[in-house]
Structures are given as C-alpha cells and as structure tokens.
Subunit: 307 residues, 2 copies
C-alpha cells in the first residue's frame, strides 16, 4: 500500500455520471488498492468496462461490496434503500458506507436502519454535475475545485470521517462538513428550486397556444435556452430529489413565489425604481461567484463566438 492509497478496496455502486466520475477521480489519484465498479445493467457495465475506469467490474452489487473498505453508493436518491438491502449482509466490520445523493437527511434515514451497527454510514454530496447521464458522461476532473458536502451523523467515528474527507480532497474537491438538515436547506435554494423553476418554465412554454413550439425553439437564444439545459436533467434523479426534500423545497419555493408576486406588482404599477434596484443587487452575487472560482467570466457561458 503506497502513500497515495487511501483504501485497500473501494466499491462504487452505480456507473452513471457521478459514479463513473468518482471512479475516474479515484483512479487518477491512485487512491484505491483495488477499485471495483458495479452496475445492475449488463449493457451499461460493458460500456463502463470498455471505458476502463476501474480495476474490476461486476453486475453484482453484493459481490462488489464484499470485503470493501469503502462503499460509495451512486444511484438516484429513491434507489439508495434497495442498494442498502442488497449490500448489508456482506459489509465488512469497520467499513465506511457513503453516497453521493443530492438529498441528505432522507438518504440517511433510509439507509441507517438497514446497515449493520459495525459499519460507518457517512453520507456525502459532491456539488458538481452536468445535465448528462451514464458512464460516458463522466470525467475525472468533475470535482476539481468544487465543494463536497459531508453530513456525518452525531457521534460519527472521527477516524472514518477523516479518511473520507481525505479521499474527496485527493479527488480534487474542497470539503465542508454540515448537518444533513442544513445541507438540504442550502441545496433547496442553490440547486433544487432552480431546477424546479427551469422545468416549470419549459413546461409553460410548451403548452402555450398563442406562441407555437417552433417559435419557442427559434427564439430561444433570448434566454430561454439556458433553462432548457437544466430542464434536460435526468427525470428519475430529479423526481427523487423533490420527493425526498419536500419540506425544504416547499419552504424555499414559498419565498420565491412571494418575491415573484412583489415583482409582478412592481411591473403592474410601472415601478421602475423597484425593478432597477433588484436588477442591480443581483449583479453583485454573480461577481462573487466568479471570484470564488465557482464559475467562469466568459460571456454567454463561453458559447463559441468568432471575432
């Protein structure tokens, strides 16, 4: 076991965008003695095998988890429990079980009762992704410079938490620790509600009678197209997010709707100052996101333009 190796055997369950990116980042870091990737779908697994981002591949999640020092569950939030049931009987004493799900309290509550008492369940969520899915959509640098939020339960084993933290750092992430509840509130506003309103406006635009779909498509460069990218994200993943983070999403959605009502009133009454004031305040946040290295300066998302 060299210096770089963090775990003798790491198992990743689910070879999608995130699972395959974790696999590539683990390999890039040389962080596993043996890395095994499992996917329930034969076709996806053989695609993964061709891409070659692990040492071993198996359709059998139980076989993958056997003897693993770390198991990373990378499936939709609503499928975590069924994976938990499958792997629980073979988990090694002292193994760490983590996940990458976009909701944290629900995942912990689903997995915790299923796993033996002698493993360390420490949920996590890398705040990085794209709108695409599957093993070929992943890449090793997905987590570089992005935050990974780890939400350890009360009384967590500090050694296990440190090992997991160090692994995410080796994969390029910055790590933050918080409670699952707080994670779910933060992500409701920075990710879940933004996705919801993107899905919603694309739905609204598709259903109009006065404006045809082909007009919506032709003139989408005026702003709409940027919402369609987000609204092209995986339906299963996002259904599970909303079903499992209901309270925080409804809370943040309520705030959003209140603010939108005020803005609607400002438009109705021709209150240009109120509009100008909001539109000025919102610029500052953009600047701070760029300064924090969480986005690029390039106009129009760096879409290709030639001079």
């Amino acid at each position: 076991m060299t210096d770089k190796v963090h775990f003798d055997r790491i198992a990743i369950i689910g070879a999608g965008l995130i699972g395959s990116s974790v696999a590539r980042a683990v390999m890039r870091a040389g962080a596993a003695g043996t890395l095994v990737v499992s996917d329930r779908d034969e076709a996806v697994l053989s695609e993964a095998e061709k891409l070659g981002f692990a040492h071993e591949f198996t359709v059998n999640a139980r076989e993958a988890a056997q003897d693993a020092d770390l198991v990373v569950i990378a499936v939709p939030v609503g499928a975590m429990a069924s994976v938990g049931v499958t792997i629980a009987p073979v988990l090694k004493a002292g193994a760490i079980v983590t996940d990458v799900g976009s909701v944290k309290e629900g995942v912990f509550k689903a997995l915790e009762p299923l796993l033996p008492g002698n493993v360390h369940l420490i949920p996590g969520h890398p705040v990085a992704g794209t709108e695409q899915s599957g093993p070929s959509a992943g890449f090793a640098s997905l987590f570089d410079g992005r935050w990974c939020i780890i939400t350890p339960p009360q009384g967590v084993d500090e050694g296990a938490l440190e090992k997991l933290t160090k692994l995410w750092e080796a994969m390029g992430s910055k790590v933050e620790i918080m409670t699952a509840q707080h994670h779910d509130l933060v992500l409701a506003i920075t990710s879940h509600v933004p996705h919801l309103i993107a899905y919603n406006i694309v739905g609204t635009a598709s259903d109009l009678e006065e404006v045809t779909r082909s007009e919506v498509i032709k003139y989408s460069a005026g702003g709409f197209r940027d919402f369609t990218r987000i609204a092209a994200s995986d339906p299963t993943m996002w259904r599970d997010v909303f079903l499992n983070n209901k309270d925080a999403v409804l809370e943040m959605l309520g705030r959003f709707s209140e603010d939108l009502t005020a803005l609607q009133r400002a438009i109705r009454w021709g209150d240009g100052d109120a509009l100008f004031d909001l539109f000025t305040r919102t610029r500052d946040i953009r600047r701070r996101i760029i300064d924090a290295g969480q986005d690029e300066e390039a106009a129009d998302f760096g879409r290709h333009h030639e001079e």
Copy 2:
C-alpha cells in the same frame, strides 16, 4: 458603390453591446459605403474609436443621422424616444430608421409620432446577445445563425423592408417578419419571463436568513450559478423591457405561476408520476433547440473540463 454595399451611409446610435456588434457585422460584410457610430458618452466613444469598428465616430447623434440612408438606434427601449427627438429634424427623405430594442410595440408607438412622414420606420430585434454591455463586449459574429425579427407597420414600403432584410442577412442573421404585438408575446415567454425569474431567484437567495450568502456562493454549481449569469444583465435595459412589455409579461408570468402552483401541489402530495412526466416532456424541447442550431450540445454550457 460595389455589389456588397447595401447603403451609402449607415448611422448607428449607441455603441454598446448590440450597437457595436451591428457595426462590426456591417464592416465584416462591407455593407456600408460609410459607417458612422455615435455614442453620447465621450469616454465610450473614444473606446469605440480605439476598437475601430466604423469609419467615423461622433458624440453628436444628429450629426451621425444627417445624410444617413439607414439609422439603427441601439439604446435601451426607454431611451428610444429621446434619440428620436434628437435625430428627427435632420433625417433625409426616404431614409430608413430601425432599432434593435427587445420590445417592439412600445418602441414603434414612441418613435412613430416623432419622425417625419417621409422616412420609413421599420423596427427590428436581433434575438442574440450576452449578459455583458459596452463597446468591447460586442463581436462581429453575434448574429450568425441567429434570428432577427423585423416588425414592419401596416402599409410598409416593400422596397425599404427588403433592403433592411438583406442587410440583416448580410450580417449573418436569419430574418423573420411578424407583427409587433406577436413579437412581444413570443419574447415575453422566450426571454423576458426567463430573465425575470432569474433575477427573482437570485434576489430570493440573497435575502435568506437560514442560508448565508457565502453558502449560496459556495454551492452555486448545483444550478444556481446559471441563473446568476442571466441576472447579471444590464439593469437599465431590463427595467425598460418590463416597463414597456407589461401586458405580455404579466400574461406569461400568470401562466408560469399557475403551472408552478400545480408543481408545488405535486411535491406536497408526493405525486412522483406528475413530476416524472413533466421532467420527461421538457427534455424534448432541449433536443429540438440543439437540432435547430440555437444552442450547443456541450454539457454544462461547455464550461472547461479536463479529462
């Protein structure tokens, strides 16, 4: 006058993102015998002069419009009338006056009574842009492959309309003709409401107490950052858009809010099928926008990722 020259003298009033891009595209096409650009701000004008995207530069809009065969007004929608007042006295008989404003009915109503009866007022709107402003943000290829909507009044001079259409085509655009009213409805859903909800969510996120601003910034890669780009667009331009396209924006915003209420209810009642159904329908529009050449396939807006 060579074959490529469409107008002997073109004047552009306003050297911002769009005005300077029109200038560059006119020069690239060799479409003007003489191109003169005017900006009221000395500093902006001398920046424009350094960038060199026209034959002549002047702070005096009236001087620019004098003897022009085509005047392109490229200022915020609320400032069109004051430019109209300035240039009206010197407009040549038979000249074409157009604009690039994001709202069309209001602009026509503001300009039409101000201009002499012997000029052709034919408003237009290139559906292309970025979130940036000013002369250095412009580029010649901004309109390539994008649509320009021209909204001629009833009884328009067909020859003048054709000359303007050909010019936009020479600048790389595809041209569509429609009424000003229909334009304003189409743009309300494809551009104005998307901007409004982006501004709104960024405002909501800035005002929370349970989630700090620095958390919003750190975890913005989960979706939020894409809204901040749009919400960094010019406040004056967007205030004017909402003040001048009130009815269509309120109408489309009403539809958006109704649909959002239905989605909220689906989350509250745990109706996963309704969510999954919407999230699946919205993917199709994305595909069609890419097929129509109005966006790129690259994941994550082609943000830089290394393998």
